[in-house]
């Protein structure tokens, strides 16, 4: 029985990949996503090394770059984005004409920026490229936002089911801790929770640091450690919020369902896993989608522990006077949200097949 279930699960999973059964719309979206992915990968390889760029640069540019080495905006670029050459050049489009013509564009070669419209387009493309974090080795920009929110919603929802059932439980030994947990994590700011986990936890457990989770020689270790800490904070936080969503959904199921299950001799666990949770899953989807969209925007809070998401990157770029950056930032957010709303819609449709 178990085996056949697993088999049918994988069969269902495989049927998702059967392109012939897809709708036309899904096919178009898949093609667009796939080509974006291919493009991103290609750009990652196109990215020339610092040396290459230096070699191809003229004497004038070389001296400009040298002069700028200590400047703060270049510093920012070095710290957070190893594509700083491109970005450096794009910053300079407004100022030094000679540089801009050579270096604006994907990896300095795809797009040459002129005055006017092309200049703006060139900047947009560069900002987008940087915010998405294409071709980079750690989690940046959109990558960070998407990864962080997806992990926190998926894990958070899993924990939330148990929290919600615990809160509903009539046994105070179970329900009180769950209540306290939800009360605490909904009642305190997420930013301070991130601080607590990133800074206070290593303070309490001496000798432990988030950085030490990764190889000492890994230059990105500090970011990866911070990302793990941020993930934990986000998971714990979203679990509390999702628990209330799950609880509302579970409690909205008709009492008759419990009675029917009991009359058929099913235990509490069987009733929950076979009857109540599957039915409430469908009712959870809209509020969970809402929570997800909120979290995409909340992800910018990770700046407090040195991670950069789209909001923070765009703010950093704008600090050097390029306010155009906010427009591609908006567009990226819109695309992410639209994509996940679409996915949630699909899931909802799948769950409401019986209605």
């Amino acid at each position: 029985m178990k085996n056949s279930k697993i088999a049918s699960f994988f069969k269902g999973l495989l049927s998702l990949f059967d392109v012939r059964k897809w709708e036309r719309k899904s096919k178009i979206i898949a093609v667009v996503l796939l080509s974006l992915f291919v493009a991103a990968t290609a750009f990652a390889f196109v990215k020339p090394s610092e040396q290459e760029l230096m070699d191809s640069a003229s004497q004038k540019i070389r001296s400009e770059l040298k002069k700028d080495e200590t400047r703060s905006r270049r510093q920012v670029a070095i710290t957070y984005n190893d594509l700083y050459f491109i970005n450096y050049a794009s910053f300079s489009t407004s100022g030094v004409k000679g540089i801009s013509e050579k270096y604006v564009g994907f990896a300095g070669s795809v797009h040459a920026a002129d005055e006017g419209a092309w200049n703006v387009t060139g900047q947009f493309i560069n900002y987008t490229y940087r915010m998405l974090g294409c071709g980079q080795s750690v989690l940046y920009g959109a990558k960070l936002t998407i990864l962080l929110t997806t992990i926190s919603i998926v894990c958070g929802l899993f924990i939330a089911v148990f929290l919600a059932l615990g809160k509903i439980s009539k046994n105070p030994i179970i329900s009180l801790p769950c209540r306290a947990y939800i009360f605490f994590f909904r009642g305190t700011p997420l930013m301070i929770q991130i601080f607590c986990i990133y800074l206070a936890v290593p303070g309490i457990f001496e000798g432990f640091s988030w950085r030490s989770l990764f190889d000492n020689n890994d230059p990105e270790g500090v970011f990866k450690g911070a990302f793990v800490a941020a993930c934990i904070a986000f998971v714990l936080n979203s679990a509390a919020y999702c628990a209330e969503i799950v609880r509302a959904a579970v409690e909205s199921i008709d009492k008759g369902q419990y009675e029917a299950a009991k009359a058929l001799g099913m235990s509490y666990g069987q009733t929950m896993s076979k009857i109540i949770i599957p039915q409430s899953a469908r009712r959870m989807i809209p509020p969970v989608c809402n929570e997800f969209v909120m979290m995409i925007k909340d992800a910018s809070l990770v700046f407090v522990i040195g991670l950069m998401d789209i909001t923070t990157i765009s703010k950093t770029i704008s600090a050097s006077g390029s306010y155009l950056v906010f427009i591609p930032a908006l567009v990226i957010y819109l695309i992410i949200t639209a994509f996940f709303t679409y996915i949630f819609g699909k899931i909802e449709k799948k769950f409401s097949v019986y209605e």
Partner: protein, 252 residues
């Protein structure tokens, strides 16, 4: 051997005394219809047999074994856990509002409990489930979701679902009350067939015609006690208790 026997069963919701002192014996193969005005405690009595409500006092025997004995809202004595579960499985229940599982197809509704509770294989239970569906006349609806069915069809599926657990006793809690009048007949026919096959049935109903025709014994309940019980023709044609007379006059 009596299938169910209750002695001095009482049930209170706070200060409201719904069941006062109910004594009833259900023999093997007997079909009993419980009638009475609303608020008489008919449904509560049926539900307390199935442990959906915990009685506050009295004894329940199932198959002549003491199933539960409670006094003053405390359990004095009850059967051990394994036997409790086994005896619970011998009672099937059909609800007024069907309570089918909306996220499962009709066939899955039938197979779910035998597979999860009894641990049966799908290959074992599917033939039985399909046979039961055929008996209630719904074999063509096996793969439909309950939302696509009419009320009468839903209730017939609910009966088949209870039967899939192969119970010895069937409890019907106003199975036709939520149905459109023209759909009542199909459900009653299924129940009639079941009675003819020798199933022990305990049925709370307002269908006097059905009670008169099918029941071996009719029980009239009011104000939390059994006012009168007897063969249908006796009780309907020659009621002894004034409350019974009043009730029958008001509905006929």
């Amino acid at each position: 051997m009596s299938m169910i026997r209750t002695e001095h069963v009482s049930k209170k919701f706070g200060h409201l005394e719904v069941l006062k002192d109910v004594n009833l014996t259900v023999e093997n193969g007997e079909v009993i219809c419980i009638i009475g005005p609303s608020g008489a405690g008919k449904s509560t009595f049926l539900r307390s047999l199935n442990q959906l409500e915990m009685i506050t006092g009295g004894k329940i025997f199932i198959e002549d074994e003491l199933f539960l004995h409670r006094e003053h809202d405390r359990t004095v004595d009850s059967i051990d856990k394994d036997k409790h579960k086994a005896l619970m499985l011998e009672m099937g229940m059909v609800f007024q509002h069907f309570n089918l599982f909306p996220h499962k197809t009709v066939l899955e509704n039938l197979m779910l409990a035998p597979m999860t509770v009894k641990g049966m294989n799908q290959t074992e239970i599917e033939p039985l489930a399909r046979q039961l569906l055929e008996e209630v006349g719904l074999s063509d609806k096996a793969d439909e979701y309950p939302s696509k069915l009419s009320g009468g069809q839903k209730q017939r599926v609910a009966i088949a679902r209870a039967l899939a657990m192969q119970p010895k006793i069937m409890l019907f809690d106003e199975p036709t009350s939520a149905l459109d009048p023209e759909l009542v007949g199909e459900v009653l026919n299924v129940m009639k067939k079941l009675a003819e096959e020798g199933m022990t049935m305990l049925c709370v109903t307002h269908e006097m015609g059905f009670a008169r025709e099918v029941a071996d014994k009719v029980v009239f309940m009011a104000d939390g006690i059994i006012m009168e019980e007897g063969k249908p023709e006796e009780l309907f044609n020659n009621p002894q208790n004034p409350r019974t007379k009043q009730f029958l006059q008001s509905i006929l």
